[in-house]
Amino acid sequence: MQYIDIDAPGSNQLFIGNEAMARGALEAGIGWASAYPGTPSSEILGSLAEVAKKRGIYVEWSVNEKVAIEAGAAASYAGIRSLVAMKMNGLNVVIDFLSTIVLSGIGKKGLVLMVGDDPAAHSSSNETDSRPVSKWLDIPLVEPGDFQEAKDMIPYLYDISEEFGTICILRSVTRVAHARGNIRLGEIPKVVHKARFEQYFDPAAPMPTPIMCVPSSFRHMFQHMRLDKIREKFETSTYNKYVGPEKPDLLIVTSGSGWLYSQDAVNALKAENRIGILKLGTLWPLPEKLVKSCLSKADKVLFIEETDPFLEGVIMEFAAGFSPESKRNLFYGNHTRHLNSFGELTPDAVIKAITGVLDIPYAPRDADYMKKVEAVPQQYVMDRLLTFCPGCPHRASFWAIKNALAMDGRHGFVTGDIGCYSMALGPAGFFQTRTHQCMGAGAGLANGFGQLHRFGFDQPVVSVVGDSTFYHSIIPGLVNGVHNHSDFTLVILDNGATAMTGFQPHPGTELTAMGEPAAQISMENICRAIGARVEVCDPFDLKSTTRTMLSMIEQKEGARVAIMRRTCELVRQKKEEKPYKMKIDPEKCLGEDCGCNRLCTRVFRCPGLIWDPVAGKTKIDEVICNECGVCADICPEGAITREAVA
């Protein structure tokens, strides 16, 4: 296995974008890294954790993004270069802190926030573009256009952060964070980190204390002055570049993933002589002189961005202030509907935008081509349901929740949250989840629904959250619910892992990010201390879990908690052998007959069970069945049996 701290300066290494950023942080001499996992940002901290001890840095999976950034700021205040990583959802969680640290300033050493955006929301509940936060909150922001920049920009950003005393943001997108490319390595400095919080009361000191935001207007003005200076710095940054003819017919202005896509598109159109590209790496504060000089090259300007028209907005706003004698450009982009402001950017989308502006003939492949392409893998790859793994405890948990809600009969429902169990919106969880927003939202909504009985509301409300989510953002919701007598059931699916993002530790697990013994925080003790009735059950015991759920749903008032505890199957199978040998007796299997109608393969739908349409019976898929044994309790005929493996 290759670690990101490989000691080979000058060599080329194949890294994913997140590893490149982590390597960049090592080359910048960081001493602190904290994060909360979230796709596509998780590998930044994950790869640092692997080398943390060796490199003498501290790496922490924090309980949530807000704690991660505040803890990271403390390191900066004590003189340690500090990195904080999160996905764009996490950025929303830390906005409050960001809005104050831009006023209070950072410590003597740099503080860099890496935000991973997920355009098209491949693994997210939204596709928010993080870049506008830079303008909104006055934070310098850069965006790498390729893997090398993803690494190189980090030391650069720490220098900016320290020179001007401000937090800085690096924004990346999934296709930069997760794609793999060649990186030329730099040197990792040997830094002896020495932390001390100096308490100078002298306002002229490098870091006067107390660290505070007042007088806010003054500090706000001061941050704007800093940005003006940083703007000057950015004017000459090598991360901004123009390529193309001196007088192009069209100027593309782009950043991030748009940089490579734009080059591809111009190549495909063979329009290198007609189109110039201004690639910006330092987005905010906008390097205005550079932008203005490039705008003067062409009449037509097309903005290529993923996801929001951020540069489009700030540059058009900037150009609106040009003097009447200045060159006026024709701007194209999202506002002219040449490009979408949602979903992922693709070379095709860029080509379409360019040919919409310039009269360049382009013959895309015939309309059937895409169909043909899609048909090829279908011959070899079978349709697969978006679902839980075979043996996943969530499937059993939702089975019990579903049955309890159906038996209760008052049209109860589940408010969902963020994790693998988000899939309960669909067949994986029997369509039980009725709301799906951000982390903690399910419990918050349940608080509200649970108060509506005074307006005639009589449906049971079940908020389903994961264990990591519980620590991250559910506890306040439970406190609120108990305190205000809100009527809902909180179900914590405790699988002992932050499973969806790659099994990162959380406050309930045994080890820290650095592999050291952690103090495990008992969620049942927390819930009981809050004053909630708490029941712990094993979701694989369907009967007793269903009974527990019923008794929870039927409780007359107050927030109560059912902890459905069973280790994530992917974690379990790394440590243990399969517990059972599953068998199906075809004589007993009713198949589609009355009395069964394929309950296991039509409703329960564990991928370990397959329907044999020829025999009209269910079979075990021995390759993927994890032999958890739950389907034996689903089968109405006792045709599925589990035999304990000695």
């Binding site: 029997f430 009355c594 009395g595």
Partner: protein, 379 residues
């Protein structure tokens, strides 16, 4: 055939969601999609089969009474007040212990005990009262078990679930005690026997209970909980007309409620029921108007006649002729139930040609529609 069957979705749409379910239990017990919970049949998941036993056996889906009567008794359904009759008389158990725990004369308990004793059956499926005084199905395989099941709390309970739960390969000979709607479901099962369940031939004796209406489990239970000390309740009783009371035996005391108060908790579906005397069984048993401590017994099949003969031979039952006046009143009450059901159905459907689930001859329909029913009463 009984009807063209449909599936579970239609069962819920046409019957259960319309509050027409009788809680017979024919649709549960051998189906993973339906379950009985707190007084209601609940759908756990939708079965997508176009045809299902659940729909076919339901006593509130189209029911060809002629076919049933032919199957059970070899004659068509004529609409005779108390159904197909071999013999009718009044009886009571000779065992005082049986009588004290049972309803009226303890005839049902005596017959089940005799059937077990003489190996006619190995198990009796009945509705018991559990510790909370809620009904529950019981499969009694001993005299003590049968005795424990004696008595009624007048709440509807899906006892056929217990029959559906019998293992497929079971050879156990069964006796079963059912209400009229449950008897109809059972008869519909016999017309189109399930292949995936224990054989219906295992049922050697079916005993029907007279019924004017049954109480809705959930709502009536709330009423009881609020009005009597349930754990101390020994027995519930509706004495024969014209008493018009609901008696609750608590320890040595009896607390009486006007029947009208209790009647509020009737199952809505009972208004559409044709059958008071459980016409589709081997033997039907009920109270005797004006005479406490005795049962009216209607023998309908040879099976029924045989066990009565055995009971006589072994001296288990004391048997007397039913006074002509009692029989006449029973017939009139039964006819009124039929007529009222048909008239209520037409009121509901608004169409004389739409009798919901009932499939009867035109003449019989006209006769029942024309019969004067008077004020709602009964039991």
């Amino acid at each position: 055939m009984v009807t063209k069957t449909k599936g579970m979705g239609e069962l819920f749409k046409e019957v259960i969601n319309k509050d027409l379910c009788t809680l017979c239990g024919a649709c549960i017990g051998d189906c993973p999609y339906t379950v009985f919970y707190r007084g209601k049949i609940r759908m756990l998941d939708l079965c997508t089969r176009e045809e299902g036993h659940c729909y076919g056996y339901c006593p509130r889906t189209r029911t060809d009474l002629d076919a049933i009567n032919n199957k059970l008794f070899g004659v068509p359904f004529t609409g005779a007040e108390i159904g197909t009759v071999k013999d009718v008389f009044m009886a009571r158990s000779r065992d005082a212990k049986v009588r004290s725990g049972a309803q009226y004369g303890g005839t049902v308990t005596s017959l089940l005990l005799l059937a077990l004793e003489s190996d006619l059956i190995n198990a009796a499926i009945t509705t018991n009262t559990d510790e909370d005084k809620l009904p529950e199905a019981s499969v009694a395989r001993s005299a003590a078990g049968v005795m424990a099941g004696a008595g009624s709390n007048y709440m509807a309970y899906p006892v056929l679930e217990a029959l559906n739960r019998m293992p497929k390969d079971s050879k156990e000979k069964l006796g079963i005690v059912v209400t009229p709607c449950q008897a109809i479901a059972l008869a519909k099962m016999r017309l189109d026997p399930p292949t995936q369940r224990a054989s219906l031939d295992n049922i050697r004796l079916s005993v029907g209970l007279f019924c004017t209406w049954a109480l809705a489990y959930d709502r009536f239970y709330e009423f009881l909980k609020n009005n009597v000390d349930l754990p101390k309740v020994r027995k519930f009783d509706i004495p024969p007309p014209p008493a018009n009371r609901f008696d609750v035996y608590i320890g040595k005391e009896v607390k009486s409620f006007p029947l009208d108060e209790v009647r509020k908790y009737r199952m809505p579906t009972c208004a559409y029921c044709l059958d008071m005397t459980a016409e589709f069984t081997d033997i039907s048993v009920g109270s005797v108007e004006g005479i406490e401590g005795w049962n009216t017994v209607i023998v309908r099949t040879q099976h029924g006649a045989d066990i009565i003969a055995e009971a006589k031979k072994k001296g288990k039952l004391e048997i007397k002729d039913l006074p002509a006046q009692s029989l006449a009143h029973l017939k009139e009450a039964s006819l009124i139930k039929k007529a009222r059901a048909v008239q209520e159905i037409v009121k509901k459907t608004g169409d004389k040609n739409d009798l919901m689930y009932i499939d009867i001859s035109h003449d019989l329909k006209e006769k029942l529609l024309g019969h004067k029913v008077g004020a709602q009463g009964g039991h």
